[in-house]
């Protein structure tokens, strides 16, 4: 029986190889991070359909195998090993959660496939005594990181804050691995840019066991007298935070947030008015691909993308297809060179891999970020000015 299974595995393996290139995807499709995983999956499905409609990869239809990591480290490692040994893939895509990524470091180093990784933004740069993803994997020639690093997010956020001309900023952050180190870095950068930071205050996010009562924290922000509010938290914190700001009649000039995504249909909520936020992709970006991506996405999935993870996944899969086609082979060195030298399409416009602080191949940097403002139910781009669709309006 086992012999038969083994033969079968080998046979399937052979068939997979004969039929062209297969890319293995690791993504959290279930559990607390399912929103991100499903957004990635939707982006991959769209890119896959387009790639194959355009002739596939090396003249054959491209295939992807998506494995659920549940955002759980042990599950993620087993799923990666399945892709490498049972499915025989040579290219890895997807990626989310720093805990899962840290657990995968040893396995990545062992197999050394080409790993193009969206998430795991905790670079470790600037955190003493802790090795982050960029520090551990950035120097590997086969490692390509797509999403900006944490310090690149902070750079964009503080640059926007500085551009508004406010003198002081109250900084609220969720207390786990995402908001904690991020807030320390942000406070430093804000002060470097000449702003004062009268309050840096941690809160318990709804994603990590909190119940969404932020009134005490908001009251402190109001009492701090700061011109603007800057918060770092998760998408599920948006509704309680913005509504309680109004309830407590807290009235800063700007309410600026940097969650990894925004809740669906929040645009239509009255609480959204004048709220600003950091985002990677919006359909009203000035480049042509932004709109075509939206239309194709709606045609396939029936609704607009919920967050920019779909756009990053789409960009990631297309970069693989374009690079392998440019290399004309699946040979690892040739594909690495093609990924390294190529310029790729994305809903955010053209992009390429370039060095960051440590990493050899960093895809999007701080230039990916835009700040939008909810103005009468529409997400207008207000920063950077070159892409702005409307001027920034004060909340007061």
């Amino acid at each position: 029986m086992k012999r038969i299974i083994a033969t079968l595995v080998v046979a399937l393996f052979a068939i997979a190889m004969a039929q062209g290139v297969t890319i293995g995807v690791l993504s959290p499709l279930t559990g607390g991070a399912a929103g991100t995983g499903q957004a990635q999956k939707a982006g991959f499905e769209l890119a896959l359909a387009e790639i194959n409609a355009a002739g596939g990869v090396l003249g054959q239809p491209l295939k992807i195998i998506i494995e659920d990591t549940k955002a759980d480290a042990a599950t993620g490692v087993a799923a990666f090993e399945k892709l490498m040994t049972e499915d025989g893939v040579e290219f890895i895509a997807g990626g989310y959660s720093s805990g899962v990524t840290l657990a995968l470091v040893e396995s990545f180093r062992t197999f050394q496939p080409i790993v193009s990784w969206i998430g795991g933004a905790v670079s470790g740069v600037g955190i003493d005594g802790f090795d982050g993803i960029e520090e551990l994997l950035g120097a590997e020639p086969w490692f390509f990181h797509v999403h900006p690093w944490d310090y690149q997010n902070t750079e964009a956020s503080t640059a926007f804050m500085a551009s508004t001309g406010v003198k002081s900023v109250a900084l609220l952050h969720e207390d786990s691995a995402f908001g904690g180190p991020g807030a320390i870095a942000a406070a430093g950068l804000l002060q470097d840019a000449g702003m004062s930071v009268p309050l840096v205050e941690a809160f318990k996010s709804t994603l990590t066991g909190g119940t969404g009562d932020f009134r005490a924290t908001i009251a402190k922000a109001a009492a701090s007298g700061a011109d603007a509010l800057f918060w770092i938290g998760y998408d599920s914190d948006v509704v309680p935070l913005t509504s309680q700001i109004r309830e407590l009649k807290y009235d800063p000039q700007y309410i600026f947030g940097a969650p990894p995504g925004w809740p669906s249909e929040f645009d239509a909520a009255p609480e959204a008015q004048c709220v600003t936020g950091l985002i990677g992709y919006l359909p009203n970006l000035p480049n042509a691909e932004a709109k075509t991506f939206l239309d194709a996405y709606v045609a396939m999935h029936g609704r607009a993308p919920d967050n920019y993870m779909a756009a990053l996944a789409y960009a990631q899969l297309w970069s693989y297809a374009d690079a392998i086609n440019a290399a004309g082979t699946t040979d690892q060195d040739a594909v690495i060179a093609a990924l390294q030298n190529g310029t790729f399409r994305s809903p955010m416009g053209a992009w390429s891999f370039k060095p960051s602080v440590i990493a050899l191949h960093q895809g999007f940097g701080s230039e990916m970020w835009n700040v939008f403002q909810f103005q009468n139910g529409v997400r207008e781009i207000v920063w950077p000015l070159a892409r702005a669709t409307a001027p920034l309006a004060s909340c007061q």
């Binding site: 042990a74 040994t85 040893e106 005594g129």
Partner: protein
């Protein structure tokens, strides 16, 4: 004593089987053995977790603090290597010890709590511990970002003489053996409990503390003993997990999910037995992976249905079902003990594991 000898011989045979399993997998499946070994390791982790929880449950203490003890083991290892250059293998026994000491402290203040009061108190303890660890100075416990932990195995790749998957196989085999060792330790402790007077004492404490006192059993001492043994194993497990997963963080190390799995698995397999938690872990892990590979979406719905069906159709777990099938026709298992908490499962304890 004959029963004990038989069980220990069976344990030794089981250990030998575990030692050779990786090689067998490799012979049969070749490179695919790498991922099968990882899946088997995940099942071993679940088995150790479940068996250690079951030992505590034998005294009637329904703990929701298991994540506190795996977490304590994990953080012991992480802090040890963050602050000192201790030998690589020192952290694991130390993790077990720290967890055991913690359990002694928790156990002695919760002695008079029963049922759900005990459960919620232990859950609250875990949540407080998680928050406290996160609040410790970053230089010690790493704060919210956590701490990196060195790997136990880092086999080197020798180009030309081996393939890359063989390196992964060697690493996975190393971890598999360590977890197998942990499981054997847990099984031996469990068997020693089940084959000594402790078993009757534990059962007496669980079913009726007053009666236990009359029988000459000291309930407090029994409960603490179970707490310490159970948490020692959980601490060892958490310590090895920290090495294998490469980092610890408060949210990951003290996850409610760990606690829930520790309790669900032995119920599924058969409570108050040695075999039940192991069987439960193997079957549950197998079912989840099979469902995952069969259905692209919603596979966890199937997993939930399996759990629901299991309790409806085999109220005494896999072990209960097996012994019922073996004994079919006999009258001994047909009577259900109603009312008293733990009643039906007590009957399961009568079955040899």
């Amino acid at each position: 004593m004959r029963g004990l000898t038989r069980d220990l011989v069976a344990t030794a045979a089981f250990a030998v089987l575990l030692v050779f399993l990786p090689s067998v997998l490799r012979e049969v499946f070749g490179r695919a053995s790498v991922s099968y070994l990882s899946l088997a390791t995940n099942a071993l982790v679940l088995a150790v977790l479940a068996l250690s929880w079951d030992m505590l449950a034998r005294t009637g203490q329904l703990s929701l603090a298991h994540a506190a003890f795996t977490g304590a083991g994990a953080y012991t290892v992480a802090v040890l290597f963050k602050l000192t250059g201790a030998p690589l293998w020192l952290g694991i026994p130390l993790g077990g010890l720290v967890a055991a000491v913690l359990a002694l402290g928790l156990g002695s203040v919760t002695l008079r709590l029963f049922g759900i009061y005990f459960a919620i108190a232990t859950l609250a303890f875990t949540e407080v511990l998680k928050a406290a660890v996160q609040r410790l100075p970053t230089a010690v416990a790493g704060g919210a970002a956590g701490i990196n932990v060195p790997a136990l195995f880092r086999p080197t790749f020798v180009a030309g003489s081996m393939e890359r998957w063989e390196v992964a196989f060697l690493r996975n085999q190393g971890y598999f053996w360590v977890y197998a060792g942990l499981l054997v330790v847990a099984v031996v402790i469990s068997v020693l409990i089940q084959r000594s007077r402790l078993r009757a004492a534990f059962t007496a404490v669980r079913t009726n503390e007053q009666v236990a006192g009359v029988m000459g059993v000291n309930p407090a001492r029994m409960k603490l003993l179970a707490f310490v043994l159970s948490s020692f194993v959980a601490g060892l497990l958490g310590a090895v997990e920290a090495h294998r997963l490469g980092s610890v963080s408060p949210d990951g190390a003290f996850s409610v999910h760990t606690t829930v799995l520790a309790l669900v698995t032995p119920i599924f397999g058969g409570l108050y037995t040695t075999l039940g938690p192991i069987l439960g872990a193997t079957v549950l892990a197998g079912i989840e992976e099979t469902l995952k590979r069969t259905f692209s979406e919603g596979y966890l719905i199937g997993y939930g249905i399996v759990l629901v069906a299991s309790i409806l159709f085999m109220p005494r777990g896999l072990v209960g079902l097996a012994s019922k099938l073996v004994k079919r026709g006999g009258a001994s298992t047909s009577g259900r003990v109603g009312g008293a908490s733990g009643g039906a499962a007590d009957a399961a304890a009568e079955e040899r594991a």
